[in-house]
């Protein structure tokens, strides 16, 4: 076997190539063996057993039930924490973070708006079960079933309070993130929640440097700010926030009657315990009259601003829609081909070369892309209006004051982590631990 022969055969092959275009062609027909050689079978990898998928749903159901039971019946922070550790190990490190309830939003959105995509039943279960539980019991899912919540719960060392104005501002991000995630998933463009999932690299012990850096910064911040992802980013948390507000039952700070001891006041690392605005000594509003008048004026202003913001957002979204559509691979491909065909760029990209090799028609691609861009315009309109609405409503709710006699939990923000339970002295036997708790609460 010489190099010369190899080059000769290669030149023959090149000649053959001029006759036959790319793809699989039988340039060299399979030989007829004379020695009785049997052609081996193709090796095929088999799909993992479906049992695991059903096991996941079962584990989700069991942990949800268990954590709700522990939170309501035993009011045990330790129990909630241990279930969280289990969820972190199972859903996080063992199942490597896929599929999760947060990401399932995108599958649902994509399935609702794209008839070609069918969503597996397990994903539907991951989306629906936590919402159903939240509608009845509050966000017990966040407390310790969600692996992303659990990993932040574990690393929280010394959480400090976030100023209320910052909390309110950052608190709108999850809603906007949710809107954006639905927009990009519904147009079958990107799964941004998965793309920027901060902890999945840790769950898999594998991933790009950027993913690890993002995760590490969330974990570092999480040591001093309680659950930064849950509070300021999680789009599924935004859904559960709304569901939790109308929950039939919700964990309480106190097991029975509040005795106004103020011990729980500083116990919540998420800052969702609302202070009383009135008490037995101060039966009327604690807010002075001139401030109330100012608030009322503001409220009227914000209520007028609300539709303005919604319309402005919708208009901006409609205008930005085509720009958003450039996240879609097909749109980018069409744009690249146009750039190449009009000699605006020299080099042919891999994508455009691959498209040209398939022999697919360019007008078909243009039709498809125009359809996508139109969907992005409409999606942008809806996303923009939603953004305006969220911001407007946030401002309205900031000036609405409710009269509260007791320390109450803000049900939307509370993740039922159970930290406040131990601070409430009601129904507890006086014990040696009590002074320490009181000291901690005071300091």
């Amino acid at each position: 076997m010489s190099v010369v022969r190899f080059l000769f055969i290669r030149s023959v092959v090149v000649i053959l190539l001029t006759w036959q275009t790319a793809g699989a062609v039988e340039r060299f027909p399979p030989p007829n063996f004379e020695t009785g050689y049997a052609i081996p079978e193709v090796s095929q990898s088999t799909a993992r057993s479906e049992v695991y998928e059903y096991l996941d749903v079962l584990a989700l159901l069991v942990t949800l039930t268990l954590i709700t039971f522990v939170a309501f019946r035993y009011r045990s922070r330790k129990g909630i924490f241990l279930i969280g550790v289990f969820s972190l190990a199972y859903f996080g490190f063992w199942r490597e973070g896929c599929v999760c309830a947060i990401g399932s939003i995108q599958n649902i959105a994509m399935a609702l708006f794209n008839t070609g995509y069918t969503v597996p039943l397990t994903v539907i279960a991951f989306f629906c079960l936590p919402i159903m539980f939240t509608l009845f019991f509050g966000r017990t899912f966040c407390a310790g079933v969600c692996p992303l919540g659990a990993i932040q719960d574990v690393v929280s060392v010394r959480p400090m309070r976030v100023p209320r104005w910052l909390e309110a501002g950052l608190g709108t991000i999850p809603f906007l993130y949710l809107g954006a995630a639905v927009l990009f998933a519904a147009t079958a463009s990107r799964f941004i929640i998965c793309e920027y999932d901060p902890f999945v690299a840790f769950f898999r012990m594998n991933g790009s440097l950027g993913m690890f850096a993002l995760g590490a910064s969330f974990l570092l911040i999480g040591m001093v700010v309680e659950r930064p992802y849950c509070r300021f980013f999680c789009p599924y948390g935004a859904i559960l926030n709304l569901a939790s507000r109308v929950a039939k039952w919700h964990v309480n700070i106190t097991p029975s009657e509040c005795i106004q001891c103020h011990l729980c006041a500083e116990s919540c690392p998420l800052g969702v315990i609302r202070f009383p605005t009135a008490s037995a000594d101060l039966p009327v509003q604690a807010t002075p009259a001139h401030l109330r008048k100012k608030d009322r004026r503001r409220l009227v202003g914000f209520l007028i601003l609300l539709p303005v913001l919604t319309l402005a957002g919708g208009w901006a979204g409609w205008e930005l829609g085509p720009e958003f559509s450039r996240t879609n691979a097909r749109v980018l491909l069409a744009e690249r081909i146009w750039l190449e065909d009009t000699q605006r760029v020299e080099v042919k990209s891999e994508e455009s070369a691959a498209f040209r090799a398939t022999g697919a028609s360019l007008p078909d691609l243009h039709k498809e892309v125009l359809h996508t861009v139109r969907r992005f315009s409409i999606g942008g309109l809806l996303f923009g209006s939603f953004t305006g609405l969220v911001l407007g409503l946030k401002m309205v709710f900031l000036v609405v004051r409710r009269r509260r006699v007791d320390y109450e939990i803000n049900r939307g923000g509370c993740v039922s982590c159970g930290r406040c339970f131990d601070y409430c002295p009601v129904g507890k036997e006086p014990s040696l631990e009590m002074p320490i708790q009181i000291e901690r609460a005071a300091g």
Binding site: M1, V3, L17, F28, V119, C128, F136, V246, A247, T358
Partner: protein, 186 residues
Amino acid sequence: MQDKDEGRQTRREFMGRGVRGACMLALGGGIGFLGSRSQGEDSLWQIDPWKCVSCGKCATECVLDVSAVKCTHNYSMCGYCQLCTGYFDFESNALNTGAENQPCPTGAIKRKFVEDPYYEYEIDQSLCVGCSKCVLGCNTFGNGSLFLQVQHDRCVNCNDCAIARACPSNAFERVPSSRPNIQKKV
């Protein structure tokens, strides 16, 4: 004052009950709608070998350290060529297994003499990294019997497959788990 307070409580509770009921109804409707369209089974990622252009991104984009994509050989399509361009580099100086003469960076492709002049080529999947250099060679000058497939025993089935995101030819697709492979056949 007391009466007014109680009235407010019941009004809020009533509204809460209404919203809760509406949410449950919407969820139920959603489940019914999506569930009726669902295939029930899970979906997996797979490469359509007819669309694959052997760009090599499967080896580098996968979230796993050694990609879940590996080369598969359909022997019935193979020409059993003595001069296999999946086995020897196009520009090889000599036809031996020297690293500079083979496209495979890990030596995962092995050959066995069958009868003159035919050789059987086998992929050692424990060594394969899914770079598709041999696939490119086989498709360029041969029958195209070598092709890439996602190995489901390795794939963690990310909701958003990183290779699918980077694939230039749109060759990645979700397939039902009952038909997890897309075989290349003539």
